[in-house]
Structure formats: structure tokens, C-alpha cells
């Protein structure tokens, strides 16, 4: 009885404050959400820190390990530079193939196709993006590579004087060029989706003004859509490049790897992600550090590419739709 009386007098239990919950809940919730945001930054920092710590033995063997040199080459750079070369070559093949096609499809969806076709085509492009990379790899390894063998023979016969097409053409078709084609198919949806968004945001008045002045459809696109979308196209291509650089399975399954060579149609070359995937499961000690260090190089390259792309997007935020 006495308890009830004191409770009623206690200002904390008055109905007004009770109905609005308690103030500590507010603080806890704000703290939790702030903490989650901070955690994301911490995780990204840890990604960098852990990769550096784990790769120190490979980067400077004399200082951080009991060995004089790394296990697969004289020093780390001799080991990693050919891998970086292979990674960049494969990604550039992919970009060279994917960019024009992606811009074409984006234009097709945004300006050329009738509406009842363009919506399903958009779905189909999203579908391409959803297919797991290992399935692309399997397709490239068992279907595409055999289909490309005669093409490589032909390229070698006709264009053999160019270093890229010299060397014995592979009889299995599992070459860096095939990997590049598979990568191109994989990054196509990303570039297309971003470009489509930007193209669709071109001010309708600009387009109509151009058409009213007698421009043909292509002239209208060249005069209004492309200038408006230039920054967006560049950044979407760079985002695609970032994806191609880090893609693993398409290369691991397709490429029959080897030492670095300029020839794209004979077997050889290797990329960083593929090298890691092939060797990491069995690696330990120094070999593991080497692979983590190679991963660190990949991380730095893709981080740089992505940051430049995002910076371009953010700078043009007001008039581009790539974000």
C-alpha cells in the first residue's frame, strides 16, 4: 500500500513521461547507429591494416621474417609486377570490348527501343548482372574458349606481326583474350545500368530543342545526351574497370596460366586474384604472405580506381544520375 503511494508521487512514473518511453532508449539507439557507422570505417581501415601486417614478411623478408627472400622469386616486385601486368591487360581487354557495347545498349534502352521492348531489355541486363561469376567462368572455360580457337588461329595468321597476336595460338582457347571477353560480358551490365540512368536524366527540353532545330536523332544524342553524360560515362567505365580488376573466377577457370607474355592468344600470363585463388588454399608461411601482399597491391589499385570514379560522380552529383 505504501509502495503504491510513493510510486504515484514519483514524478518518473507520471503518465506523461511514461507514454513517451524512456530517455535512455534514445541515447542507446543514437549510440548504436553512430557505432555502426563508425564500425564501417573501422572495418575498411582494418582491411588495409591487416593486409599490410600479413604482407610485411613478403615485402621486406630480411626485416620481418627469418628468411632472406620470398619463396617464389628473388624479391617481391619481381614476383608481383608480371601479375599486375596480366591483371591490367585482362581488364583493359574487357573495358575495350564492354564500353562501346554497354553505351550502345544504354542508348538503345534510353532512346532507341520502344517502351515495351526497353523495359524487358532492362530486366535482361539486370539478369546478366545476377548470374554468379563462377557460372561465367564455367561457360568461358567449357564453351567460349573452344568456340574462339579458330578465331585465334585466324588472328595469328592475319595479324601475327602485332606482338599481341604473335606466339603460337592456344589449341584449347584458354588464353588471356578469352578471359578478357568473359570479363567484358561480366562488367557489361554494370556499365550499362549506370549509363542508362544517366542518359535517361538528360533534360527533355534540351533533347526537344535539338530535334525542333531539325537535328536527326543521332545529332540530338551527340549534342545533348553525350555532353550531359560525359562525366557519368567516364565514372561508370572506371567502376567497371574496378570490377574487372578484382574479378577472380572468370580468370581462374578460363586462363591456363603461366609466365608473363605480351601474346594474348597463347597460354600464359596470370592475374593477381586468380593467382591468389589458385594458390592460397594450399599456402602457408612465406607463400601465404606473398599472396596476401599481392592482394594488397590489388586492393591499392582497385581502391585508387574506385576513389577516382566516385570522386567524379560526387563532383557532378547535381546533374548526373550515377549515384
Amino acid at each position: 500500500m505504501t509502495e503504491q503511494v510513493t510510486e504515484a508521487r514519483d514524478p518518473k512514473s507520471s503518465p506523461i513521461t511514461k507514454s513517451s518511453g524512456n530517455a535512455s532508449g534514445d541515447k542507446i539507439f543514437a549510440g548504436l547507429s553512430y557505432g555502426a557507422g563508425a564500425l564501417i570505417l573501422v572495418v575498411l581501415a582494418f582491411v588495409a591494416i591487416f593486409l599490410v601486417t600479413e604482407s610485411l614478411p613478403a615485402l621486406a623478408p630480411t626485416l620481418f621474417s627469418d628468411q632472406d627472400s620470398i619463396s617464389s622469386a628473388d624479391n617481391f616486385w619481381v614476383y608481383v609486377v608480371p601479375l599486375i601486368g596480366g591483371t591490367i591487360m585482362a581488364s583493359f581487354i574487357a573495358i575495350l570490348i564492354a564500353t562501346p557495347v554497354a553505351i550502345g545498349i544504354a542508348l538503345y534502352i534510353s532512346h532507341y527501343a520502344p517502351r515495351r521492348i526497353s523495359t524487358p531489355v532492362g530486366y535482361v541486363i539486370d539478369l546478366l548482372a545476377a548470374i554468379p561469376s563462377v557460372v561465367y567462368g564455367a561457360w568461358g572455360m567449357l564453351t567460349l574458349s573452344t568456340a574462339l580457337v579458330p578465331v585465334y588461329g585466324w588472328l595469328h595468321d592475319v595479324l601475327g606481326f602485332i606482338p599481341f597476336f604473335s606466339g603460337d595460338p592456344s589449341t584449347t582457347g584458354r588464353t588471356l583474350l578469352t578471359s578478357g571477353v568473359v570479363l567484358a560480358v561480366m562488367i557489361l551490365p554494370i556499365i550499362t545500368a549506370l549509363c542508362r540512368e544517366i542518359f535517361l536524366q538528360t533534360p527533355k527540353l534540351h533533347e526537344e530543342a535539338a530535334l525542333a532545330l531539325g537535328a536527326t536523332q543521332w545529332e540530338m544524342i551527340r549534342m545533348t545526351v553525350f555532353p550531359f553524360a560525359r562525366a557519368g560515362i567516364i565514372s561508370s567505365v572506371m567502376l567497371g574497370l574496378g570490377r574487372a580488376l578484382g574479378e577472380t573466377m572468370a580468370v581462374t577457370l578460363v586462363l591456363s596460366g603461366g609466365v608473363f607474355t605480351l601474346s594474348l592468344i597463347s597460354s600464359g600470363n596470370q592475374t593477381i586474384p586468380s593467382e591468389i585463388a589458385l594458390n592460397f588454399p594450399e599456402a602457408f608461411g612465406m607463400r601465404q604472405s606473398e599472396l596476401v601482399a599481392a592482394g594488397l597491391m590489388l586492393f591499392i589499385i582497385t581502391l585508387a580506381v574506385n576513389m577516382v570514379a566516385r570522386a567524379i560522380v560526387n563532383r557532378n552529383k547535381e546533374f548526373s544520375g550515377a549515384n
Binding site: 564501417i40 572495418v43 557495347v101 557460372v135 586474384p273
Partner: protein, 401 residues
């Protein structure tokens, strides 16, 4: 340019004489005069097909390549249309038509790999799966090189299966979702509800964008390095302890690194479209901020959030490389993601292709890989479909009162 314009103007002027004499190709319609007749494209196409066939025969030598024929014909058609239009109309219209054809060509070129890929997966995977439904219920513990050799040599039915991969993918993905959804959700609540656009919030947004570009294999290496550091610091550095590092949980951490940015981006977008009037109405009733978020903001946007999370799950369910370096692979079924190696479905496909069970007879391994690939595609597509349906069916009605 000026001649082209003049020509257009002249062509556009009505010419009744021509229509009377039947000289004009399109009955002298004032708006279509000066244009090439409609049937021109068919003539050019026929010409391109014939000449293309000729070139293919001359260049190809032995055997007629249908693919080569189609490619040559397509190139010839595009060039032919350009030249014809240029002669019959003018340069500007010819350029316009050229680019229109090229844009269509880009669309067709992009369809080829998609159709080829889906066709291969279904043609190889579906018959295998129908003939051997046991693939869905067995693991690889009793399958070895000898059983595969017997399949090839003596026509025994396909041994083994990938139920362990299905279970592994399920456990690893569920754990990754449990880790990343709360973090991603809270971070996006911070961005939309609490932050005032300061440096901290802007750097979160920027680095979330950067994180979406982290190569998946680097995420795997990070999770591996993090767990290894944890184990060596707190548990021990013996070989048995180092063996512990590779487990399902490590793979889940790797997948979370890939999943969190996707969840943050999609959730943030959904929270931002919740109208401010709803929040203000809630505050006006004296409801605290956290309760407003829990009871007003989140329920309003829950369909969009759920759809975004489902898409993120679909994305990580297909990842191979991070799981390969963090959880390894196993032939037997295990439900425990906290102890020992674990196989996920994509890793199973990869191992079957790159390291066939019977090196001398890789066909059974390939068939199993295609069947697993089909199942994986179906899972991912179903998740995508669910995401779309959820987004549509449970979307809040936008009409205000």
C-alpha cells in the same frame, strides 16, 4: 551542310506533278518525299547476305561457317545501308541510320553471350539433374576417381552430389546476413536520421561507395587475416590452432564485408523517401526519436529494405573466391560453421571443374558442376524475383490523405 538542308527543303516541297505521273516512290506525300523507299533495307539485306556468303566461301576455304557468314553479312548490311542512304538521301540521314544500326547491333551482340550461357547451363544441367535427382541429396564422401571411372566406362549412374554445398551456402549466407543486416541497417539509420551532413557522415557515404568496389578475393584475405590474428593472439599459434582459422564463420565475415555496403546503400535510399511529415507527426504526438524510427520510419520503408537485403543476399550467395580462401572445401556434409572447413555451392562448382574427381575422366565432374550451376542460378534468380515481388507487393501506398 547547306546543300543538305537545301535538298531536304526541296524534297519536302509538294510536287503534285510527280505523284500524278507516278514517278515519286511514295505517292508524292509531302512529308516522305526525298526519302528512300521502304523496301530498300530488304534489298540491301539480301545483297549483304549473298555477298557475305561469297566472302565466307572465299576466305573460309574448307567448310562453310554459318557464324562467319552472319558476321560478314551484318557488317556488309550496316555499310550498305550507310552508302545507300547517302546516295538516295543525304549525309546526315546516312550517319543517323548508321548509328541506329550500330546501337541495334550492340544490343544483339550483348544477347549472344547471355543466350549462349543460359542455353549451356540448362542443356547440360537439366538432363543431368532429372536423370540423377540423388545429386540434390548426396555429398561427395563416397565418390572417388574409381566411381567416376566406372560411370564413364561401364555406364554406371552418376555418383555423388552437392547437398553439402547447399548446406554450406545456406549456413554461410545466413550467418553473413545476421552480421551485416544489423550493422548496415543501423549505419543507414545514422546517415538518414541522425547525421547532419558532417564530415563523419560524408566519409561514411564515400567509403561505403569505395567498399562496394573491394575485390571479393581481398575481402576473403581480410577475413582470413583478421581471424588468424584473433586466433594467434588469443588462442595459440600451434598447427591445430592455425587449422581453426578456416571455417564457415570466417567466410561469413568475408561475405559481410561485401554485403554491408550494398545493404547500407539500398536501405539509405529507402529511408530517405519516407516523407518528413510522418516523422513530424510522430514527434508532435510526443513520441521519442528512437520509437519514431522503430514504429514509423522503418515500417513505412520495410518493403524496400527487405528487397534490398534480398538482393544483397543474392549477390553474396554466388560469391566463390572469398569462400574458397576462408572456408576451404570438403567432401562431407557439415552443419557447423564454427569448426572446420566447409564447402559452398560455388566453390563446389569451381573444384569440380578445376580439379575433377577422376582426372582421367572429367566428364562426370563437369556434369555435376553444370547441375550445381543450374541450381545456383535458380537460387539466385529466385532471390531476385522475391526481391522484386516484395518491393512491389508490400510497397506503401504513396497517395497522401
Amino acid at each position: 551542310m547547306s546543300t543538305a538542308v537545301k535538298k531536304t527543303v526541296e524534297g519536302a516541297s509538294p510536287d503534285p506533278k510527280a505523284s500524278k505521273n507516278g514517278k515519286s516512290s511514295r505517292n508524292g506525300n509531302a512529308f516522305t518525299a526525298g526519302q528512300k523507299p521502304r523496301w530498300v533495307w530488304a534489298v540491301v539485306l539480301a545483297g549483304a547476305l549473298v555477298v557475305g556468303a561469297g566472302i565466307t566461301v572465299v576466305l573460309g576455304g574448307e567448310g562453310f561457317s554459318v557464324t562467319g557468314w552472319l558476321i560478314f553479312s551484318a557488317i556488309l548490311y550496316v555499310i550498305g545501308m550507310y552508302v545507300t542512304t547517302r546516295v538516295m538521301e543525304n549525309r546526315r540521314r546516312a550517319t543517323d541510320g548508321l548509328w541506329r544500326n550500330l546501337v541495334w547491333a550492340a544490343f544483339v551482340v550483348a544477347l549472344i553471350p547471355l543466350v549462349s550461357l543460359l542455353w549451356t547451363v540448362f542443356a547440360q544441367g537439366l538432363p543431368t539433374l532429372i536423370a540423377n535427382p540423388s545429386l540434390l541429396t548426396e555429398d561427395m564422401s563416397t565418390t572417388n576417381g574409381a566411381t567416376d571411372q566406372a560411370t564413364v566406362d561401364e555406364g554406371e549412374s552418376l555418383a555423388g552430389g552437392f547437398v553439402h554445398g547447399l548446406i554450406g551456402t545456406l549456413m554461410i549466407t545466413v550467418l553473413a546476413t545476421l552480421i551485416s543486416v544489423p550493422i548496415g541497417l543501423m549505419a543507414s539509420i545514422y546517415l538518414t536520421e541522425y547525421s547532419r551532413g558532417g564530415l563523419f557522415a560524408r566519409s561514411i557515404t564515400f567509403f561505403v561507395d569505395v567498399m562496394t568496389g573491394i575485390p571479393s578475393i581481398v575481402a576473403g584475405l581480410f577475413a582470413f587475416a583478421a581471424v588468424q590474428l584473433f586466433v594467434t593472439t588469443f588462442i595459440g599459434t600451434g598447427p591445430a590452432q592455425l587449422q581453426m582459422v578456416k571455417m564457415g564463420l570466417t567466410a561469413s565475415i568475408a561475405l559481410s564485408v561485401l554485403m554491408i555496403p550494398v545493404v547500407v546503400r539500398s536501405t539509405e535510399e529507402m529511408l530517405r523517401v519516407v516523407p518528413n511529415e510522418l516523422r513530424e507527426a510522430s514527434y508532435a504526438l510526443g513520441v521519442r526519436k528512437w520509437q519514431t524510427i522503430m514504429k514509423v520510419v522503418l515500417p513505412t520503408s520495410i518493403s524496400g529494405i527487405a528487397s534490398g537485403v534480398t538482393l544483397a543476399i543474392a549477390r553474396v550467395a554466388g560469391e566463390t573466391a572469398p569462400i574458397l580462401v576462408t572456408a576451404g572445401f570438403l567432401a562431407t556434409t557439415t552443419w557447423n560453421p564454427f569448426n572446420g572447413w566447409m564447402t559452398a555451392l560455388p566453390v563446389y562448382i569451381y573444384r569440380q571443374l578445376i580439379n575433377p574427381t577422376a582426372p582421367g575422366a572429367p566428364l562426370p565432374s563437369e556434369l555435376r558442376a553444370w547441375a550445381a550451376a543450374l541450381v545456383l542460378i535458380v537460387i539466385v534468380m529466385l532471390l531476385n524475383l522475391i526481391a522484386r515481388i516484395v518491393a512491389k507487393a508490400f510497397a506503401p501506398t504513396k497517395t497522401g490523405r
